[in-house]
């Protein structure tokens, strides 16, 4: 039998050829097999912002008219939220920052009846957005003087501002006395006791260079020098707490002065050596992990983070798959058709290989233009879910800046480093009107977005996400600060059949806030680690109390607390369905 003629051969090849194109069209709609099961998420989120009396609306800044063309882009940050119990009444309060001159920050005191009142003005932490001083970008709380009251550092595009909590009602500005009056164009800070001396130190991230005053520009060459490998950002700073309310800049001595346009930082003991390390999410560049060498120096680790150089927006720490490890989730930018930078879910394999392994695939890899995110067990089943805020600039729905962005992003650095070269934004949107994502954790089956199913349906430009059990009822409520838009409070309603436990830690030898303490819970078929939060996500800080969902488990075998001081404390069979206060043993 002879070979078929050329036309026949061509026709035969055409069949799989067309089939492949049709298959690509089909795969464009989603995977062939449905991924993880989205039914029965086991919780609902309800928007109860108004009922709670939270009426905060963020206002974006305005800058020097020399950069008016790109102002929507440069002024697209500043909405933040952090959780604190500033009055020590056992109920989490909320602090929102604002970013327009004259617009006040808000400190919402939790009344305990489901409502809040803004006491920022009487407390002295409202009027922080002033010409010559800068505008707020965020805040983190911690008891830096170990007096039992939570203090706060506000980072700005401008001067840092440290407020000491005087009596649980009023704050005093102690920035100058503390030696912290420095101009930093910052979008993030964390409290970390890097030398384990029991005093909280401060790590401040910098975005624009610190010699830039965005209201009095001497040059328009202020932008990044690469879209994926920029190193011309501001220099991050580490301040050592010397005690007595004094801080000193030890950035260079400790080797943590990254200039990579850092947007967020998180801290945990990733390599299990007992010393807190620093993980950075950098815009226009790769993530960085600084490993702490006994509080004497930090070493930039080659932990597999450099191979996916992207636009890190936030860093969220949590035990993604109940391995008893602290993993990292870093959000990035994706815009369908234009750019897939993909979020990174990095499993901590430092013990085995001294590396993190990125396992983000499918839904969790692409949330849109993703910002703040937090791990939290919303359904109390014992596995972390993930809340991700999305959207960059929501303006004219009919004008999309992505086409303009694609022109400048592919160009040479000499061009886009100059803000004056950028195509003017006008009233265009850039990844606007994107929904938040709530990823349900189905273990090996993957993560599935259930946001609309559980009730997280807003289309605001989300920035900061913070989690807190606002009513002390064993549920993880979600607070989102939206850029130039109203804040949202989503109350979490988990299925009532699941059990839970929460721990409020009080340091004695360690810092009083217990920031950096790691808690390992062990129960039947459940091992999970959590870290007391000194700032994480993007421009946010969670409730310092750690929450564990237990599912149907009616007891916990034991809880191991690794205090920052080095003390290990074990709780055997603690009571569940309640909040336990645990004080660090003196010895």
């Amino acid at each position: 039998m002879g070979r078929p003629g050329s036309s026949v051969r061509r026709a035969i090849i055409a069949i799989p050829f067309l089939g492949a194109i049709l298959l690509a069209m089909r795969l464009d709609r989603g995977p062939l097999r449905s991924s993880a099961d989205a039914t029965h998420p086991g919780f609902m989120l309800r928007d109860e912002t108004a009922a709670a009396g939270i009426h905060f609306v963020h206002q974006r800044p305005t800058f020097d008219t020399k950069i008016a063309g790109v102002e929507p882009h440069v002024a697209a940050l500043g909405a933040s939220v952090s959780v604190t119990d500033f009055d020590g009444d056992g109920r989490p309060d909320l602090y929102f920052t604002n970013s327009r001159f004259g617009a006040p920050n808000a400190l919402y005191r939790n009344r305990g009846d489901g409502t809040f009142e803004d006491v920022a003005r009487s407390a002295g932490v409202a009027d922080l957005n002033r010409p010559g001083e800068g505008v707020s970008m965020g805040a983190v709380w911690g008891d830096f003087d170990n007096d039992g009251r939570e203090d706060v550092i506000v980072y700005r595009y401008g001067y840092l501002a440290l407020f000491r909590n005087v009596d649980g009602k009023r704050f005093e500005d102690v920035t100058a006395q503390a030696g912290l009056r420095q101009w930093v164009n910052s979008n993030g800070a964390i409290w970390i006791d890097y030398d384990r001396d029991g005093l909280l130190d401060l790590y401040v991230t910098a975005y624009f260079r610190s010699d830039i005053d965005l209201w009095h520009l001497t040059t328009t060459r202020i932008m990044h020098n690469s879209f994926e490998f920029a190193t011309n950002g501001g220099k991050n700073l580490l301040f050592h707490n010397r005690g007595g309310g004094k801080f000193e800049d030890v950035t260079d001595a400790l080797g943590v002065g990254s200039t990579r346009w850092t947007l967020a930082a998180g801290s945990a003991d990733f390599n299990g050596d007992g010393w807190p390390d620093i993980y950075l999410a950098n815009d226009y560049g790769p993530e960085e992990l600084y490993l702490n060498d006994h509080g004497r120096h930090f070493t930039l680790s080659n932990a597999g983070l450099e191979s996916e150089s992207k636009s890190g927006m936030s860093v969220t720490l949590g035990d993604a798959f109940n391995r008893g490890r602290v993993d990292a989730f870093v959000t990035n930018i994706s815009e369908r058709g234009y750019l897939f930078q993909n979020n990174n879910l990095r499993l901590n394999q430092m013990a085995e290989s001294k590396r993190f392994r990125n396992v983000a695939e499918g839904a969790i890899a692409d949330a849109g233009w993703a910002w703040g995110a937090q791990f939290g067990d919303f359904n109390n089943d014992g596995a972390n879910e993930l809340f991700v805020a999305n959207g960059f600039i929501s303006a004219d729905r009919n004008r999309n800046y992505w086409y303009a962005m694609s022109k400048i992003a592919g160009a040479n650095s000499r061009l886009f480093e100059d803000a004056a070269t950028w195509p003017a934004f006008g009233n265009a949107s850039l990844s606007g009107y994107e929904p938040s994502r709530v990823y349900l954790n189905r273990g090996v089956a993957g993560w599935v977005d259930v946001a609309s199913r559980v009730g997280a349906t807003d289309l605001y430009d989300g920035r900061a996400v913070a989690l807190a059990d606002l009513s002390n009822r064993g549920a993880v409520d979600v607070i989102v600060a939206n850029q130039n838009q109203p804040a949202i409070l989503y109350r979490d309603y988990p299925d009532s059949t699941s059990h839970w436990i929460e721990l409020k830690l009080v340091g004695t030898r360690s810092n009083r806030s217990a920031i950096g303490a790691e808690v390992l819970l062990e129960a039947t078929n459940l091992t999970q680690r959590r870290v007391v939060d000194g700032g994480s996500g993007f421009a946010s800080q969670n409730d310092r109390r750690v929450h564990f969902g237990l599912g149907a488990r009616e007891w916990v075998d034991r809880i191991v607390i690794q205090w920052p001081s080095g003390t290990t404390q074990v709780l055997q069979r603690p009571a569940i369905d309640r909040i336990l206060t645990v004080t660090e043993p003196e010895r």
Partner: protein, 291 residues
Amino acid sequence: MAEFTQATVAERSAPARLWDRASKIDPRYLIAFLITLVLVVGQLRYHLLGGYDRLAVALLVCTGTEALLSWFDRGKVVNLLSAYISGISLTLLVKPQGGALWPFVIGGFIAIASKYVLRYRDNHLWNPTNFAVSALLLVAADRVSVLSHQFGNDVATNLVIWIFGLIIAARVGVLHITLTYVVSFLVLNTVRALSLGQPVLPEIAPITGPMYQLFVFFMITDPRTVVRGRGRQIVVAIIIAIMEMLIRFASDKGWPLPTAFNVAPAFLALAIVGPIAKWTDLRRASTRTRD
């Protein structure tokens, strides 16, 4: 006179001798060298690939498809060098959502298969990579994007690629296509910017980026899909630049084009103009042969 010539040859510098030697090499090897250089520089300096699995899959699918289809269609396995070039090009250009590998499987297959299916007078009409990337962007824009800034934006690295690219384009005999397109792009988009009242620099900025490097050195100059004759090649390069300018103009005006046109107007312009020009060229040649 003869002695003088011999002496001159003997005294030729090393670069000149290398230049002479390069002229005897199959152009595909030079192109393969250049694209491998781009890949190695991009990966070492910028971790451009996003995973070696992508490279392995694209190369395997491209070379495997070429081997299989050439054996099926022609009864023998052809030289796999052009499949290698397609595989590397796809790896560099295709940037999928998440860790998806299927765009490299499907892209690699349709790139090579297009050479066997979309033919006219025993010639394929599309540059394989251009066809695959354009097709993926058109039918799967929600899952696939194209190289934009992943290759850094560094002057020095870009210069290395431009210098090597220009030298090899000259040796392969397609430098006039590259230069015509670049000049046309600069002129036409300057005119477009001025006519729209927009600043000129952002509009000509893309030509300095990595996507355009791959376009001007590997796609638009593909020896198998360009028309015959230096003059016609120049005319076609200008028409492609005009088509791209029109696409960009439509995007400027916010006309409802598929996203692919906004993302990769040069690729789409070549995908539209290239096959028409090639078809016309082949048809004209066959008509002349019959006459």
